[in-house]
């Protein structure tokens, strides 16, 4: 699943993110607005609807309640709108939402500083004040007020002879065509770049980095600092340097990256805006940078699959041109540009090698893909003028293999969440995804090594084939169904509507957008990207070869997404993966008692967690004297705390039972039981003996005693009695059973033998050391060594 590079928070306008980040009452209100707005854009056909659906009314109502003096409904009937009138109405509404900004008919509102929340508010305001229903998708596609006006009028059948045509005839060309014109014009921006010589092939000392507040950018900042001694200058969008510093610190902390004094002393943060001339820096600062920098790394990009080319070009193309200018002015510097395999996003493309031809621009659909394509082609032209430009193309960027930190708006991450939640997978060929730590480490190395500059690299890692991904999910206890892409998409949208998950909003929105959908489709059918040059570079510089981002690599990421509620791991609520009964008999307070429970695991994953290795108890009965208690839930801890003895000594805990029960009167009880390993020969007995305490909820123990598994039923229950999820094939069931036993038996054996080992060690401790048997020649040698050492000090 190809996915763009890093997400730069500063220029990225993805509105879902901001809703989540925004907090406060305002964002809650916007969330309501969104919920309503969303319903109107479910299917492409809904876009044609000019009838105001009920949801719209709600928006208006709720918004009116907020804006105290009731706003009057528009006086302009639909037929009377002209481009000019509507443009000025949009400008007025936008002006109220973004006070102090310099707005005009031709500026993209996002470039003028609008946030995604502003976009939602604008849509709501136009509806409320004028009854104008503009789709959010349209705003994201092209947020120039005049374009918005034209689009609305075209869609709503502007009456013949309306001022539309007369006012701006040129803008009636189809959107695709106008994108191509705009791209052609943007490419020519490279024609007035200066000519320059090759930079000196020396290790950089002062590096400019854009996009450091983003996911890849943040990781890359740290890897640039780790790999060498360079100082890194970060351009961060903010009102002043102090705010920029704060933003960077917050962003890094959010990705579990260090932001200590040690990081700060090697980092300079400048407030700027890559979309503006001179990166939004003052002339003296720009001039200093042209002289002092010796390397430029561009990670910043607007990563948005919904917005169109016009709204992305400033961040993704014009900014690249500005950075090229910086690189070519003064002493020349290499420019390392993070692109994306999205430049190959053409359905049916034959191969995705590092030097293979890019997609045909006229066959790229999503604005994002077009913008990444244009930036690469612009850099290609700049290379002809002497610029050493490195193109780094990641695919999907997976979560960090050690911290699990991830970018919730990476498509591969969204898909993982969807797969685990709905347990379905669309058919695809390859997932081109690599973990962020590998991508970032490779990129940092290329920046530092002159022999790597000026080339193209696919930082896509080792692609995941569909069969591998499905297998990983199965091992994780998630049996998924594979579906045709179209069916999967429909199914996903239907489920996302029936059971909305906040973390999946983003993906749902992408799935509903026709252009973004084609982007996904191109990804699903794409061949595996190849990274021959990248692999050769890694081998040359002792860097890790790409590894598949499989179950083990992505485990921490999965756990973190699970903590954030984005994915659902198999749990005690799922159907069990494997289970077996256990029966114990004995005496509690000198009266006969019996316990019968069913132990289960939801997945083998459950046993890999070092801090909490438990079996679930989902049901059971305890016969205590003449009472029958029902086991409602519970856990059995396997070698709790690695078997560290409770009170010193040689008794090592083997299993701990924690059960919650209810008696016939509905009263709650607890049961705590321990199986201990002791340095005695009766291991078989130890493994079956449970010392228990039982009490009422919230009270100390009232009963205690010992229960034992009869040796006959032990084997019958715990070996032959093992049941495996019947949905698995017979072969899978056998494997599951074997996997369980080959984990559980050694674990118990080790636990049982541990006290014995300690006794054995105590015996061995009495043996003589070599030092007691040394020969005279050894002693001489020792003395000589020691003398030499003492002299050396």
């Amino acid at each position: 699943m190809t996915e763009p590079t890093a997400r730069n928070r500063e220029v990225d306008r993805r509105w879902e993110g901001e809703l989540i980040d925004g907090g406060g009452d305002r964002s809650a209100r916007v969330a309501d607005l969104l919920a309503a707005v969303r319903q109107t854009s479910v299917t492409p056909s809904a876009r044609q609807t000019s009838v105001t659906p009920p949801a719209r009314q709600e928006i208006a109502t709720s918004a009116e309640q907020d804006a105290a003096p009731a706003v009057h409904r528009p006086a302009v009937p639909p037929g009377d709108w002209t481009v000019d009138r509507l443009t000025s109405a949009i400008l007025t509404a936008a002006g109220r939402l973004m006070p102090g900004r310099d707005l005009h008919a031709e500026i993209d509102l996002f470039d003028a500083g609008a946030s995604s929340v502003n976009a939602v508010e604008l849509v709501a305001a136009l509806d409320r004040d004028h009854g104008i229903t503009i789709e959010l998708d349209d705003v994201f596609a092209d947020a120039r007020p005049r374009k918005l006006a034209e689009r609305w009028l075209t869609a709503h059948g502007a009456p013949p002879g309306a001022a539309l045509v007369a006012a701006v005839p040129a803008s009636l060309v189809p959107v695709e065509g106008s994108d191509l014109d705009m791209i052609a014009a943007d490419l020519s921006l490279g024609d007035d770049l200066p000519w320059c010589d090759a930079p000196l092939p020396v290790t950089p000392r002062r590096i400019l980095l854009t996009g450091a507040t983003g996911f890849l950018g943040g990781h890359l900042l740290l890897d640039l600092l780790r790999r060498g001694d360079a100082h890194v200058v970060c351009i961060v969008r903010a009102d002043d340097d102090e705010a920029a510093l704060r933003r960077l610190g917050d962003a890094l902390a959010g990705f579990d990256l260090p932001w200590s004094g040690e990081v700060r002393r090697r980092t300079t943060v400048l407030a700027g805006d890559i979309r503006r001339p001179r990166l939004g820096l003052s002339e003296p600062v720009w001039d200093t940078l042209t002289r002092e920098l010796d390397s430029i790394v561009n990670v910043a990009a607007a990563v948005d699959f919904l917005r169109g080319y016009p709204s992305l070009r400033q961040s993704n193309v014009v900014a690249v041109r500005t950075l090229a200018e910086l690189a070519m002015t003064g002493p020349s510097k290499p420019l390392h540009h993070v692109s994306s395999v999205a430049v190959f996003n053409e359905i049916g493309i034959a191969s995705m090698g590092e030097d293979d031809p890019l997609a045909h621009i006229n066959r790229l659909v999503a604005g994002y893909d077009k913008s990444k394509w244009a930036a690469e082609v612009l850099l290609r032209r700049a290379r002809e003028r002497g610029l050493v430009a490195t193109v780094l193309r990641p695919g999907g960027i997976g979560g960090h293999t050690q911290t699990g930190a991830y970018n919730a708006h990476d498509l591969s991450c969204g898909f993982s969440a969807a797969f685990s939640r709905y347990r379905t997978v669309p058919a695809f060929r390859f997932f081109n995804v690599a973990p962020v730590d590998w991508v970032s480490q490779m990129a940092a190395a290329i920046v530092y090594e002159p022999d790597g500059w000026g080339q193209n690299y696919n930082l896509t890692g080792r692609p995941n084939a569909m069969s591998e991904l499905v297998r990983d999910l199965e091992l994780g206890g998630m049996n998924v169904e594979v579906m045709h892409w179209e069916d999967w998409r429909e199914d996903f949208i239907a489920r996302a509507e029936a059971d909305p998950v906040p973390g999946l909003d983003f993906l749902a929105r992408v799935m509903r957008s026709p252009t973004a959908m084609q982007l996904c489709e191109a990804n699903l059918s794409s061949p595996a990207a190849t990274g021959t040059r990248t692999e050769a570079f890694a081998a040359r510089h002792d860097l890790p070869a790409p590894v598949r981002y499989g179950a083990e690599q992505s485990l921490k990421n999965y756990e973190r997404m699970a903590r954030d509620g984005l994915v659902t791991l198999p749990s005690a609520e799922d159907a069990p993966y494997l289970w077996f009964p256990e029966t114990m008999k004995g005496r509690i307070d000198d009266k006969p008692a019996a316990l019968r429970i069913t132990l289960s695991i939801a997945s083998m994953y459950q046993l890999t967690r070092q801090d909490k290795r438990t079996l679930d108890v989902r049901r059971g009965k305890l016969k205590l004297h003449d009472q029958l208690l029902t086991v409602e839930s519970g856990e059995v801890w396997i070698r709790p705390d690695e078997g560290v003895p409770l009170q010193g000594g040689f008794d090592h805990p083997l299993l701990r039972y924690d059960l919650r029960l209810r008696d016939a009167d509905g009263q709650r009880w607890w049961l705590e039981g321990w199986k201990m390993a002791r340095p005695r020969r009766d291991l078989w007995k130890q493994s079956r003996t449970l010392t228990v305490e039982i009490g009422r909820e919230g009270e100390p123990a009232t009963f205690s005693g010992v229960l034992k598994v009869p040796s006959k039923s032990y084997l019958r229950d715990q070996f032959d009695g093992i049941q495996v999820d019947p949905r698995l094939s017979a072969q899978e069931q056998r494997t599951a059973k074997l996997a369980w036993l080959s984990w559980f038996l050694p674990e118990m054996t080790r636990g049982l033998l541990e006290p014995g080992f300690r006794l054995l060690a105590d015996l061995l401790d009495l043996r003589k050391d070599a030092i007691d048997r040394q020969r005279e020649s050894d002693l001489d040698q020792d003395r000589a060594t020691i003398k030499k050492r003492v002299r050396a000090r």
Binding site: P258, S260, D641, E642, P645, R750, A761, L764, D769, I771
Partner: protein, 355 residues
């Protein structure tokens, strides 16, 4: 060997202090100060390395960082230091001696010099393990804070390492008094050759010292650092940083590890009665905030410190103990790695600043 130090640490004064413990062992102690009045931080190295792990000139080291952050580092070379002769010597010692003499007496000496200024301890590996015994014995009261890296009260290795080191160690100690890590010192054909051979099995790196430490630590299958975290210059002089391992200490290590607790070695010798038999059981005597740290890829002590944190938070909830995992780091590289200042030392400073 210490001669290269004064040239560095700009503006700092390096005072080497003659220091002999009450059992008559000469140790290394050294103060690095910039201006008076700073809180002191005693740095305690691991076994078979030396205080040099805190002063590597080729990286931004912990002493640099402490000095810049306003602290006064004190370097102790305890008796297990590779700079001292004791690991290859005739006189055997156990970790009890470190917990009873070296650490408490060094701390007492520093206290005598700094008066009522704060004193912290940052300890690595076996140094931290020995420190946990001193603390549980109440021998170093009133510290401002302790950072223990890699392992503390609950040593734990994998079962493979367990079998190889506890049983293999038995073989070693009947044949060798110590195991060297520098093949240049002992020659290619020596009685140690089989150990080097064993350590080199399946190694990616041709450096024999590196194999002995990284590929299979002393042929036990453990690994002391993540290879790519080291600066090349550090990698190429590992044999200067690491010294021989005395085999006669292995039984004490084994006793600790099998119990997953720091245990006293000397049970009949009354001089050691001030140490508890099991430090974990006396953890309630710890009277200072503790930061437990470990690399997420520690391939020798595994998640011992996570286990220690879990245990202490349940069994001694009154203690101020927290746990930090350093993503991507192994064991030694958390101090001698190229990026340790960025990834590790910042966390140490944050902890010290807080207390």
């Amino acid at each position: 060997m210490m001669s290269q130090m004064p040239a560095r640490f700009d503006g700092a004064v390096v005072d080497r202090v003659p220091f002999r413990t009450s059992d008559g062992t000469d140790l290394g102690l050294c103060r690095i100060s910039r201006e008076p009045g700073r809180p002191a931080v005693l740095l305690v190295h691991g076994h078979t390395v030396s205080s040099e792990i805190f002063t590597l000139p080729e990286i931004r080291n912990l002493v640099d960082v402490l000095l810049d952050a306003g602290y006064e580092p004190w370097l102790l070379d305890w008796r297990g230091s590779s700079r001292l002769p004791y690991n290859e010597g005739r006189v055997r010692y156990s970790y009890d001696d470190v917990s009873l003499y070296d650490l408490p007496e060094a701390a007492a000496y520093i206290r005598g010099q700094i008066g009522d200024r704060k004193l912290f301890v940052v300890a690595h590996c076996v140094g931290a393990m020995a420190l946990s015994m001193s603390l549980a014995a109440g021998l170093i009261p009133g510290l401002a804070g302790v950072v223990a890296h890699g392992v503390f009260l609950t040593p734990k290795v994998t079962w493979t390492v367990r079998l190889r080191s506890h049983l293999g160690g038995e073989l070693l100690r009947s044949r060798f008094t110590h195991v060297p890590v520098d093949i240049k010192k002992v020659g290619l054909r020596s009685r140690y050759t089989p150990i080097f051979g064993l350590a080199s099995l399946g190694a990616d790196c041709p450096d024999p010292t590196c194999q002995m430490l990284h590929n299979s630590a002393w042929a036990t299958g453990a690994s002391l650092f993540e290879h790519d975290k080291l600066d090349k210059r550090t990698h190429d002089r590992l044999s200067e940083l690491f010294g021989s391992v005395p085999t006669w200490i292995l039984p004490h290590m084994r006793r600790n590890e099998l119990a997953h607790s720091v245990m006293r070695w000397n049970n009949r010798d009354r001089r050691y009665a001030r140490l508890p038999e099991n430090a974990l059981e006396s953890a309630h005597r710890i009277d200072t905030p503790v930061l437990l740290m470990s690399g997420s890829k520690n391939k020798i002590w595994q998640d011992s410190n996570r286990l220690c944190h879990d245990l202490l938070s349940r069994r001694q909830p009154q203690l101020d103990v927290r746990y930090t995992e350093i993503p991507g780091y192994g064991h030694m590289d958390a101090f001698i790695g190229r990026g340790a200042a960025l990834d590790v030392f910042g966390r140490i400073i944050d902890f010290l600043d807080e207390h």
